[in-house]
């Protein structure tokens, strides 16, 4: 029997806001996503990608061109696959899957997601801890488990701070990320530039690089050699492209980033992921490769055994430790947020902050184990393939069902377990294993698996009754969404968001200072690269660079944070004043009414 409007309204009122569809007024502009994606995809783990290139044996042109192709494909995936579904659904993936797949599928998926993103968050925190441990003097953790109580304490503290930040919610997370984004971009760019002369000197005996040809030779002789450490031919351009594309399957094809992109005002803002893809996975990876190779040459070690903290130390000095910590932390924040959302999908009656805290306990424990960080790459790669069938199921229900006479949410409407989704997932995994065993290129596994899942699900869902008549149920669903959005709009009208831009002189001055600081740091890194005719001059420049980097970092965070806080205070004051005006208007109206009466 259909529910009444009142019943629906009551239900909506009791539903956690995170589970409600995003209203138009809650959506954000491009700038929001530009900063968010930069911070998440420029992380401490980028430092280890130099080692990845050595292990995989990629050549320089494979890297330069392959990464462009792969990251472009990732951006297109975000724009064309993820964002339209996210904006159309207006809810997170977890919520959407719950609506489409039902309780069983949703819980399975969310449980998997909680583990995966919790593990990634833990890995990022451990990376940060490996840098901090140098500062406080704890020994290196060479085992997969912690071997020193100090490291455990350190990991627990870092993880706890992360959990608390995430528990405050998306806006706090985004705010912090927007502060870190520009600085991280500068640090990763500058780090590579600063160590290039050292790298050149280790190969050619001189610190100068005489043109593009020599740069290619140096890159080829050090990190992008084209052969693996075992002496075998390395991966080529298309493998590199696949690697770059597959690195974020979890978030694009597997639709995890619906959580963020549902807030996009326009579909085209899916292109804002370019800051993360092109900068984080292109510039930062290549720069990290050079930083790693130079550090390896300086220390006579292999790039594959260097700790991120050591690489950052040689490239950026004390600012390097901060980079590793911040880089790890911002990504940990985002992953823990996702893990919290996923856990909420398993326990929908719990508020998100609570599920985040519970997941956070697991993250705190896992962060103490270097085993997680050391298996980071296999983790994300396999996780992507394992979860992409669910992306296919959702794609099918969202885009294809209505074209094929099938009804979205059919299993919920029917009140049955969505066995087709479960079976599709299992068959897709088997399919992935099968073609992988047959030698299908490893990094492209997600593509045929995704397509397979769509085809299988369409077939199975139709057989299970997705083509039935659900007119009444669909009407109620539409009404629910309509009422939910209306409730949000009414709430916004009663307390409309007060849009105010901070144009005060002080804030503008603060902004100018941190921008100039970034420019100064970047400029000096170019000076180190281009004005080091000999090793002595280079070492002088590098020492000066270390001072500039740490000083600039302190100035940057001080002024950027101050500007952020001023903006928030100004916004709060504006809202208070607005409320006061509204309150005065209401009083006046009330008085008028009394007088007239």
């Amino acid at each position: 029997m259909a529910r009444s409007v009142e019943e629906i309204d009551r239900e909506i009122k009791q539903t956690d806001e995170e589970l409600l569809p995003v209203a138009d007024h809650e959506r954000h502009g491009a700038k929001h996503f530009l900063g968010l994606y930069t911070a998440e995809h420029v992380a401490g783990t980028e430092f280890v990608f130099g080692a990845t290139f050595v292990i995989l044996g990629a050549g320089i042109y494979d890297i330069l061109i392959g990464l462009v192709i792969g990251n472009t494909l990732a951006i297109l995936s975000f724009w064309l696959i993820t964002t339209p579904i996210a904006r159309g659904a207006r809810v997170s993936l977890y919520r959407y899957l719950d609506m489409i797949g039902g309780d069983a599928v949703s819980k399975l998926y969310n449980a998997a997601n909680t583990i995966i993103f919790g593990a990634i968050a833990a890995a990022m925190i451990t990376v940060s801890a490996t840098a901090v441990r140098r500062v406080v003097g704890f020994p290196a953790q060479t085992e997969g488990y912690p071997t020193h109580i100090g490291f455990i304490v350190l990991a627990v503290i870092l993880a706890a701070v992360t959990v608390l930040v995430v528990a405050f919610g998306f806006n706090a997370l985004a705010e912090f990320a927007t502060i870190c984004g520009p600085w991280l971009m500068v640090m990763f760019t500058a780090g590579g530039l600063v160590l290039l002369p050292a790298l050149a000197e280790s190969v050619t005996g001189v610190t100068t690089i005489d043109g593009w040809g020599e740069f290619v030779d140096i890159a080829g002789a050090t990190v992008f050699t084209g052969i693996t450490p075992e002496g075998e031919p390395g991966i080529g351009l298309w493998e590199v492209a696949g690697f770059a594309w597959a690195a974020n399957v979890l978030t694009h094809f597997a639709l995890i980033d619906m959580a963020w992109l549902r807030y996009a005002k326009k579909n085209i803002y899916g292109l804002c992921t370019a800051t993360g893809m092109m900068f984080g996975h292109y510039v930062a990876w290549i720069s990290a490769g050079f930083m790693g190779a130079a550090t390896a040459a300086i220390t006579l070690q292999s790039i594959t055994v260097l700790a991120p903290g050591d690489v950052a130390w040689y490239a950026l000095g004390w600012a390097g430790y901060i980079t590793v910590i911040v880089g790890g932390w911002t990504t940990a924040n985002a992953c823990l947020y996702r893990a919290g959302l996923a856990a909420q999908g398993v326990f929908p009656s719990m508020p998100r902050w609570k599920t985040t805290l519970i997941v956070g306990i697991g993250v705190i424990v896992a962060a103490c184990f270097p085993f997680v960080y050391r298996n980071f790459l296999p983790l994300v790669t396999y996780a992507g393939v394992a979860l992409v069938p669910i992306g296919g199921v959702i794609f099918a229900e969202h885009h294809l069902f209505h074209r094929m006479g099938l009804t979205k949410y059919w299993s919920r409407f029917k009140g049955v377990v969505n066995y087709p989704a479960i079976i599709t997932w299992g068959l897709s995994l088997a399919f992935a294993v099968g073609i992988d065993t047959l030698g299908f290129p490893y990094y492209y596994l997600f593509l045929p698996t995704w397509a397979f899942s769509i085809g299988v699900y369409l077939f199975l869902a139709r057989r299970a009754g997705a083509g039935g008549d659900f007119t009444e149920e669909q009407k109620e669903e539409d009404l629910w969404n309509e009422r939910a959005l209306l409730a949000k709009e009414r709430a916004a009208e009663e307390r409309p968001p007060v849009e105010v831009r901070d144009t005060t002189t002080l804030s503008r001055a603060l902004r100018a200072i941190w921008i100039v600081t970034c420019l100064v740091m970047l400029t000096y890194s170019f000076i180190v690269l281009f004005d080091s005719p000999d090793i002595f001059t280079y070492l002088q420049h590098r020492e000066t660079w270390y001072t500039i980097a740490i000083t600039g970092t302190v100035i940057y965070f001080g002024t950027a944070y101050w500007e952020l806080q001023r903006g928030k205070q100004i916004a709060k004051r504006a809202e208070r004043e607005h409320r006061a005006e509204e309150g005065q208007k209401d009083e006046d109206q009330s008085e008028d009414a009394k007088v007239n009466a």
Partner: protein
């Protein structure tokens, strides 16, 4: 819920299967022919070893050798990667005493224990064996070793009225070089002026150590602003005045050519040069060369250094037993005989085995052999100078950062030679470089020390 559990279990199994299938990279060793991959520095002695590999192959059927030859810098990069990752690409690598000591600390080289019959660790020159045996485990076998000594032109000494003492001092060398420059048509001395930690700084470091100068004190504070360094540098710069005009571009190879062409009266450098300067087919002054110990600075000892190119087995090698067979063969007396029969006794790899110096066939062909042996035997890298030091090495400091420090200081010395800066300024700059770089390195290594 039961259904969900079953699905989860099946999914987990599939994921594990996927992981296993994708991770698998089959080990193809142990089947059929074996290939021994060797990374070697590209110098004459090792090139000859490569050319004589057939002899080893004749004794080991079913074995192939893949030889990778690279320059020193390239080799360090390549071998660092293989050694550090335990990648298993190489089975035998040539390592200098510098990197052997550094990698030995990291446990990256296979101890040379359970070696095949024929491997005679006791036959190696004691000082070199000691340098390659940290913590009582031999980690590399010397292929050839060298020290440094003085090579001089007897005809020019006679012309200039100079007589070489049994143990020359740096003061004597300076005076002799000056006289030769003034009294003869040749330059007084061939000198390493080319910047580099393995070029001019190898010479300068050994020289400075003989003046009781040290790079770092026990607390790793740079000491290049000491009086000893000032004195050594001043003498080095004075020597440069009597060197050919191309001195700032001259390293070992350039000086070898100059000396062979009769351009210099004195050359203090690696003992390995001796056979080349006395080879009449290469050297125009072969009959006019004599030898003396490396100069010292009076009571503080001589400046003769110690270096060896050795054969080591990376821990990641998949053919360790075969690699040990190869190392044993290449460093054996049998190999020496083989090299002698092919290339003459003067061209056998010297300085590694003590018994070579008891072989009259060698000593007859190499009249400098006794002095070379004495130079090698008397070089003690553990005590490079009379002052206490936290490092080892006579012509280098055995930390990885010395590469960049040495290169930077070498550049300062070269600039001082060319007059761009004074010797004092060069040392002041060098002090700054050494201090800042080692501080950065030591901060990390102090933490590692607590591991």
């Amino acid at each position: 819920m039961q259904t969900v559990r079953r699905v989860v279990a099946a999914g987990s199994a599939l994921a594990v299967l996927a992981g296993t299938a994708s991770c698998g990279g089959g080990d193809s060793s142990g089947q059929g022919d074996q290939t021994l991959t060797i990374a070697a520095v590209n110098n004459a002695d090792l090139d000859r070893l490569r050319d004589l590999n057939q002899n080893f192959l004749d004794q080991h059927s079913g074995v192939n050798i893949e030889w990778v030859s690279q320059s020193e810098n390239e080799l360090r990069e390549t071998v660092s990667t293989d050694v550090g990752t335990e990648g298993g690409r190489f089975d035998v690598v040539t390592v200098g005493t510098f990197e052997a000591q550094i990698w030995a600390e990291e446990g990256l080289l296979e101890p040379l224990t359970d070696m095949p019959d024929g491997f005679e660790a006791g036959a190696f020159v004691p000082s070199i064996r000691k340098a390659l045996t940290p913590q009582d485990e031999m980690l590399a076998a010397p292929f050839y070793g060298e020290s440094s000594f003085t090579m001089y032109r007897t005809d020019l000494f006679k012309e200039a009225g100079v007589e070489m003492p049994d143990q020359p001092t740096w003061s004597f060398i300076i005076d002799a070089a000056k006289k030769i420059s003034e009294e003869t048509s040749a330059d007084g001395i061939c000198l390493r002026g080319k910047p580099g930690w393995g070029e001019n700084m190898g010479f300068v470091t050994a020289m400075a150590h003989s003046y009781s100068a040290r790079w770092f004190d026990e607390d790793w504070r740079a000491q290049l602003d000491s009086d000893a360094w000032l004195e050594a540098t001043a003498d080095y710069l004075e020597l440069a005045e009597y060197a050919p005009s191309t001195v700032t571009r001259n390293g070992y190879q350039e000086n070898l050519k100059l000396f062979q062409d009769g351009e210099c009266g004195i050359w203090v450098d690696a003992t390995i040069a001796a056979s080349s300067v006395t080879d009449s087919e290469e050297s125009s002054v072969a009959d006019s060369v004599d030898f003396a110990p490396a100069p010292g600075a009076g009571e503080n000892g001589s400046s003769n250094w110690l270096w060896a190119w050795s054969l080591a087995i990376p821990s990641g090698s998949e053919h360790k037993d075969l690699a040990k067979e190869y190392v044993a063969w290449a460093t054996s007396a049998e190999y020496i005989e083989l090299a002698a029969s092919e290339y003459g006794w003067a061209n056998v790899p010297a300085g590694a085995r003590s018994d070579l110096y008891e072989n009259s066939k060698y000593t007859d062909a190499a009249p400098f052999a006794d002095l070379v042996q004495q130079s090698i035997d008397s070089a003690d890298p553990t005590k490079p100078t009379s002052e206490p030091v936290p490092y080892e090495g006579i012509q280098y400091v055995n930390v990885a950062a010395f590469q960049s420090i040495g290169n930077a200081v070498g550049q300062q010395m070269t600039d001082a030679i060319s007059g761009e800066i004074s010797g004092e300024q060069a040392l002041e700059n060098s002090q700054w470089v050494a201090d800042r770089v080692i501080e950065r390195v030591r901060l990390l290594e102090d933490q590692q020390g607590s591991d």
